[in-house]
Symmetry: C2
Subunit: 350 residues, 2 copies
Amino acid sequence: MSQRKSRQPTLKSIAAAAGVHPSTASRALNGRSDARIPEDTLARIRKVAADLGYEPNPWARSLRTQRTMMLGLVIPRLTDVVLAKMFEAAEEHARDEGYQTITVSTFDRKGGQQELINRLIERRVDGLVLATSTLGDPSLARLEQEGFPFVLLNRASRSYPAVRGDDELGAYLATRHLLETGHQRIGHIGGPQSTSTAKFRLQGYKRALSESGIRYSPDLVRYGQFDAMSAMKGADELLSQRPRPTAIFAINDVSALGTMAAGRRHRLRIPDDLAVVGYNDSDMAALLPIPLSSVQVPLQQMGQLAVDLLIDRINGGTVETVVLTPRVVVRDSSARVVRDSSARPARRRR
Amino acid sequence: MSQRKSRQPTLKSIAAAAGVHPSTASRALNGRSDARIPEDTLARIRKVAADLGYEPNPWARSLRTQRTMMLGLVIPRLTDVVLAKMFEAAEEHARDEGYQTITVSTFDRKGGQQELINRLIERRVDGLVLATSTLGDPSLARLEQEGFPFVLLNRASRSYPAVRGDDELGAYLATRHLLETGHQRIGHIGGPQSTSTAKFRLQGYKRALSESGIRYSPDLVRYGQFDAMSAMKGADELLSQRPRPTAIFAINDVSALGTMAAGRRHRLRIPDDLAVVGYNDSDMAALLPIPLSSVQVPLQQMGQLAVDLLIDRINGGTVETVVLTPRVVVRDSSARVVRDSSARPARRRR
DNA sequence: AACCTCTGCACAAACGATTTCGCGCGCATG
DNA sequence: CATGCGCGCGAAATCGTTTGTGCAGAGGTT
């Protein structure tokens, strides 16, 4: 055991030092409007508290107030830059609002989500931000039923309150961008269809195609796991086809990286032989040797909003889902095709 | 206020249901060796607790035991993949050991560190893992003096217990690798010299040079902030020199990315005209269009070890700094030079 | 002078667990 | 039969807050 004797001053000790009863000290320091305390007593108590460096013991306080001022953040993994960005913003914002956050990663393990949520509830967090939910997730129903406050982030499920980007629109815009630069045979590296993000983005991709009168073909779509490896494998399959796609819209930037790697294996030049667009516009995108076109999503804002909504909900408000609008950022990986010549690669069939 | 009435069963309620005194129930459930409870009573209490879904209230417990089973993790930012990886591992390991973690980012703000540490201590975490410390950091002295358990991660400061990679060795190996592939004019994009990592890596770079009889020249070194932008600027300056460096060792992978971007601006081909080596071997490195050579560091192991050490310290152990050994992973960004031809680019002076 | 109304604060009861103390009781021992 | 001992468990204190209640005394009204 460490030697430190927990010599934090307690409310009782500062009350004694100020010559008042602990209850009075409590009222003075919490500044509730209902209890009227004369100016001088109040000042005296405040001074003593400051001098002794008093900090209220949060456990004792929580025990009494039934609030912990803690939020639980549940994410698939911290190493995903996109998630990290949202959660960094969420954590900072929560802090500004007086809440501390406990962040846990599920690593996509099967029962993991439920187990972790339970741990957080046992810790008596005041509410949860969930960025892991899959579409039919049963744990959400349980939470809702128990009246436990939660907000989804980046994912949708049922009509539970959520903060997310407009994935359908983002995918639509990305695909449209490729169509507008002349591509007709556009592949898609998707994500797990159990996630709302992947599903919506596939829909956006389809809508853009059909608007241009191009028939959707499942042959041009492969599903990965949001990671580079599975994307590379999928892209490899797409690029082995004849005629092969001249452009690929990937579900995220890491998948786009995998896609470009596959392109390299096929000795394709980017963007001349293959145009690639990613999603999320992570910092890396602009810095790549071939800068990557991507769909920009206001990630920080999403993290912040999720916390705002959650706090509202904790305080008894009824909150609505917020959907934020993305935009396409065009870079070399998809643009040069147009600049280089008038011959549009999409025409090169066979 | 939400409607949920905090209907969690309490120790008293399960004691009543089992027909025993709360103290007995407590003993039964905590299984302390000193109190001997007959098999049947114990089983009965356990059963009731399980049936009612009893979970001890952590605040009440902490209030009594003076322990929270919570650890604070302080990092500069979550969006740095390297840090995220360490902390993901740390969080998971802590969880396995029964601890929850509160992670906060300082965003490198000046007074931020001290302020955040205070917040965590007010929350009465049992200990701290600090990955932010600069070399002369005064907050550490305070912690040490108050006997508050902490462990540094990835950084060194004084002789405080830490878990880190051998930065000097890693940099030495990276530089040596460049020397062995024939380079002589090797630049270095460093980091803030207030951090132990940056300082040690510079030393390793110097040692490798001097071992090969090459004089160290400050002209070949620029200092960034661990990020791509400042690295790009520094690399741009280095590459504007005549003769220009034929290889650059960057303080981390993101800086290497910036360095490669600068190379592109100067229309240099990598690795033929410019070889680049990064540090940390982040996932991205292998997937880049030009796969990046890098120094591999056991990040997950570091995160895990930091937690182990911290828990040891909390339990009164005296712990020693652990230094882990890195290794160089050679990829295209620095290797092809040798494979392509016998003409070594380093020889091309003017 | 009797009565009422505020102030300003003390008292004490929670909140939900852990832990020290010690009391009966049964059994063995002398 | 008296004493001693260990076992199983209940009683009560404690951790540090918050908060409902109520009591004195000051000041005003009739």
